[in-house]
């Protein structure tokens, strides 16, 4: 997932926004795009002081608590029924989810 490596200043351009839009599967309106160019530049500008610090002494911390290998017994449990699994689907051709054509 490349987001324009040449954009080294952290300046978010319209091209960057269009690229992110594709990466995130998120269709935007022209108005959305224009405001995101400004908003993302502002937020990343705000974060810039963080990016310039030397933090190599600190191990990355991705979770709040140190827990590893949480195990539980491998027991059979009841889970959703077919009806429940389909209950909130936008389009159903029972017993299947209906989706747009994927193959020609």
């Amino acid at each position: 997932m490349d987001a324009k490596p040449q954009d080294v200043t952290g300046e978010v351009t319209m091209d960057v926004v269009r690229h992110l839009e594709r990466l995130a599967y998120l269709q935007l309106s022209e108005v959305d795009r224009a405001s995101l160019v400004g908003d993302l530049s502002k937020v990343l500008g705000y974060a810039r002081s963080l990016t310039r610090l030397d933090l190599t002494d600190f191990e990355p911390q991705t979770h709040a608590m140190d827990q590893a290998n949480v195990m539980r017994a491998d027991e059979v449990q009841t889970s959703s029924t077919l009806e429940q699994a389909l209950a909130n689907a936008p389009q159903v051709a029972s017993p299947y989810l209906q989706v747009p054509r994927v193959l020609e």
């Binding site: 933090l55 600190f58 209950a87 389009q91 989706v99 994927v102």
Partner: protein, 505 residues
Amino acid sequence: MTQQENLTALELSRRTRSGDLSVVETTRRYLAEVAQRNPPLNAFVEVWSDAALTRAAELDHKRAAGESTGPLFGVPIGLKSNLCVTGQLCSCASKMLSNYRPTYSATVCQRLLDADAILLGCTNMDEYAMGSGTEYSIYGPTRNPHFASGPNEVPEGYSPGGSSGGSAAAVASGIVPLALGSDTGGSIRQPAAFCGVYGLKPTYGRVSRFGLVAYASSLDQIGPIATTPEDLELLFQVIQGSDRLDATSLSREKVQQVEATLGHKSLKQLRVGIIREHFEQDLAPTVRRALEETKEYLKSVGATLVEVSLPKQAQAIATYYLIASCEAASNLSRYDGMHFGHRAQVPEKSATLEQVISASRGEGFGAEVKRRIMLGTYALSHGYAEQYYQQATRMRQAIRQDFAAAFAEADVLLGPTTPAPAFPIGAHRQDPIAMYLTDQFTVSANLAGLPAISVPIELANFQPDESRLPVAVQFHAPPCGESRLFSVANALHERNQSAKSGAEA
């Protein structure tokens, strides 16, 4: 004014359990309260009258039959709209989930039912819990019940804070005695502060997140909102505890082991750390006075005050927004308009799967959610992940170590919950960073996984033209140190009660 208006959850459950009050009648009265008081506030987005009354009848029957009764017997509770209850609306205040009715219940909701509570309905919030004002909602903003307390007339009213603003407003207005919120960066504590009620973010892992719609999984915690510390603790005790459905929930053994290490401290033995970096910030005069009065009071009851430093606090907001947005971009990738949620109507023949997914997400998500997905996607993308996401996770480690050092010198840490009282609705609409900064004192507890509480403070006096909007202070404790937070809050609650009766005299 109704009979139950001033009843706490504890008093109410005592009276319903003794048979002094019937649960059906009590529930009817609460439903009437919602109908009457909710419209100007917009705190509830859906009221579950039928389910509540059916449940109430079952509870009355259960008591009459002499069966054992739970700790929340007959107590009505408001749930933030990101908590799943089988068959009930769970919209996250988003167009994406505007018709979503889960087929299972969150562990916390099941525990409420097991404790004989009445689930009264779901409350307004910022879309997907992303916001600090309960403004980014498909239902429109919630209003702070203290609307008449501000320094100036504001056309739309004051914000209740967010993202659990509906829950905080519902409790503060007396519509319900208890509500649940979720707190990813302050979303329980900041609205509790703005509305003048108690709010707790528990230690990460003490409350199961199963059935909470995920925003940023390493930061999210569900927690209680109440009008007294006793009620807050009552609700916390019901919802906390390990859960096989949430692998990040802490085991009972682990919690007991850490609690034993912390030991019990009376107020006289308590060392209260004054967070230098929080006191040095630009604070509203009433917030600063609340802190000073709290310090004075704690000294007067025998606690020791010590200054502590959290040197990396200036980086907390940037760290939080990067980590939260990265996790949000990942978590929200599940909304594809195929399995559940909104699907855009795109002319079938010409549309590819990718186009339908993109259009569905574009239509389903609001502006702030889009902003965070885009920020997270940027910060995780190749060439930037090292510079942004990984740097933020290193800073998270540094912030956690700062807290560990502070807790070597103090048992709890005192600072403000927010820099200022509630802002007028819409005040930060054009400036996301200004909105983010209202959370500058709350995000660190989430980054470090610590429990933290917001305690409302009744000020002794006001200047003539001064805002009378509620103000609050915040206490942090070490992991699993919730009992320390409850004991400090109980002491300050007594102080508040005497300050209130002094002001009325």
